[in-house]
Assembly symmetry: C2
Homo-oligomer: 286 residues x 2
């Protein structure tokens, strides 16, 4: 992980218009992370974080463009958005950017046929993709499917290739579910990297390519957009590395030590999404 250093600066009038929350005046768009910002995952659909449903509504009613950028890889985009809608969020499929569709675009561009080590829930996303005689491996958050046998199988595909290519859908270390901490995709990415002595290509946050695809869709420049997330490195650091501002919420996987991180400093830290949105809109005179 490269290290991104950004600190809040005031301009020479002593005002913080290039920092948080002053920067909100000149924003044209906002990108939100989903899990840990809008809702907490767990049994069934999980639960909405208080105030977040209303906050999304307020952003949609404003003149700001809004997109959602997530490393979710356990379900297709359609199923994932359906879950968020059941939680009462006003979100449509075209506004949500997870790694799998980005990966499919890369496969097409480079003529690659994947061997998939992903969650069963994600498989339909790859229905239209040629998977015969694979010449690359895609690893996602496969959870229970991360068996010794399945990992060996992915390894054998890679080691049998003249130029092995490994894509990882995100690079998270672990996440929390109701029954405890669970290892995330990054752990298995590192395992395969070591086994095959290669470096994986990460598709998803914090990859700059991934953030830029969202900016492209918005038709906006990095300095016109603010990212709000609960993950200091993948959300905030990744966005800042792209030239965006990054604000961290104190929900989801936020930990107090994030505010003293040696390499990444959020442009702002707020209690939750509701507070962030209120600050943005108040700066803009709403």
């Amino acid at each position: 992980m490269p290290l991104y250093i950004t600190r809040m600066r005031t301009n020479h009038f002593g005002m913080a218009d290039s920092g948080w929350p002053g920067c909100a005046k000149s924003l044209k768009g906002v990108i939100l992370d989903l899990c840990g910002v809008l809702y907490d995952s767990g049994e069934g659909d999980g639960v909405a974080i208080p105030g977040s449903i209303e906050a999304v509504k307020k952003l949609k009613e404003s003149d700001l463009q809004l997109r959602f950028c997530t490393n979710e890889t356990q379900a297709t985009r359609e199923k994932f958005v359906a879950k968020l809608r059941r939680l009462d969020f006003d979100i449509s499929v075209s506004e949500v950017f997870p790694p799998a569709p980005a990966a499919i675009a890369v496969l097409k561009e480079r003529g690659l046929r994947p061997h998939l080590l992903v969650h069963d829930g994600l498989l339909p996303e790859f229905d239209s993709v040629d998977k015969t005689n694979p010449n690359c491996v895609i690893v996602g958050d496969a959870a229970e499917k991360f068996s010794y046998q399945n990992l060996n199988e992915a390894f054998r595909v890679l080691i049998g290739l003249e130029k092995p290519v490994l894509f990882s859908l995100g690079q998270g270390r672990y996440y929390k579910e109701t029954d405890g901490l669970k290892l995330d995709v990054g752990v298995y990415m590192k395992a395969l990297e070591y086994a095959c002595d290669l470096k994986a290509e990460v598709i998803g946050k914090p990859s700059p390519t991934f953030f830029r695809s969202v900016l492209n869709d918005m038709g906006l420049k990095p300095h016109e957009v603010l990212m709000i997330g609960d993950d200091l490195l993948n959300d905030v650091g990744g966005a800042q590395h792209c030239g965006m501002k990054g604000v961290q919420v104190r929900t989801g996987k936020y930990r107090p030590i994030d505010e003293r991180h040696p390499a990444v400093t959020a442009d702002g830290t707020v209690d939750n999404l509701a507070q962030a949105v209120d600050m943005i809109l108040s700066q803009r005179g709403h």
Copy 2:
């Protein structure tokens, strides 16, 4: 893995007595790797490599001390040696140095109680070890036991410790069995290292501590001992890093590209153990 650079040198009389095979004249002991040098693993007990049974016998009849140093962690030392004896090797338990007994010594020295992620065959080795309320994790070549659930469990123990300690019994990437390549312990060590943001302590080859424990048992100095193995990095590089000479055999996991490795150069490369032993004994006038 640190990089060890050693090349064969001739002395200023133009003779190679400090190199291979001239160095055999002044040797006092030999350490042999087992799998890939004495035998190939596979169905049942595996098969002896041609000439190796006789070669071990010749070394035992010589005035050289002999020890066996292995990263085998799928069975207790007793069961492992019994297998080698069934293959007709004249080997006794006290001559064989695998990682597990070394790990147990470290646990006792540091007052640590392990959570074990190891092969069922290795469990009896830890019978006498206090495993209640674990304050470290030991990972070995657990093979089929490397399930998502078991890896999560080891991870949760580590992440729950104030000062997480992870021991890895070796750090191999993969090995070959009759039904194909299998991921080795190093891959899961890397996975847990990344998940917990820590560095594992490797017990086994190429750890200098591990080699030194064998030298201590022989009562010899590194320059008096030669290591013969099929693994360029773990056997040859590890031994050289300790001040021993290291010779690679062209059996087991040897690959021709090993002879052009950018960082590790064996003091000698021989077709098999039989050839190595004949060269050693011929230098010594046998």
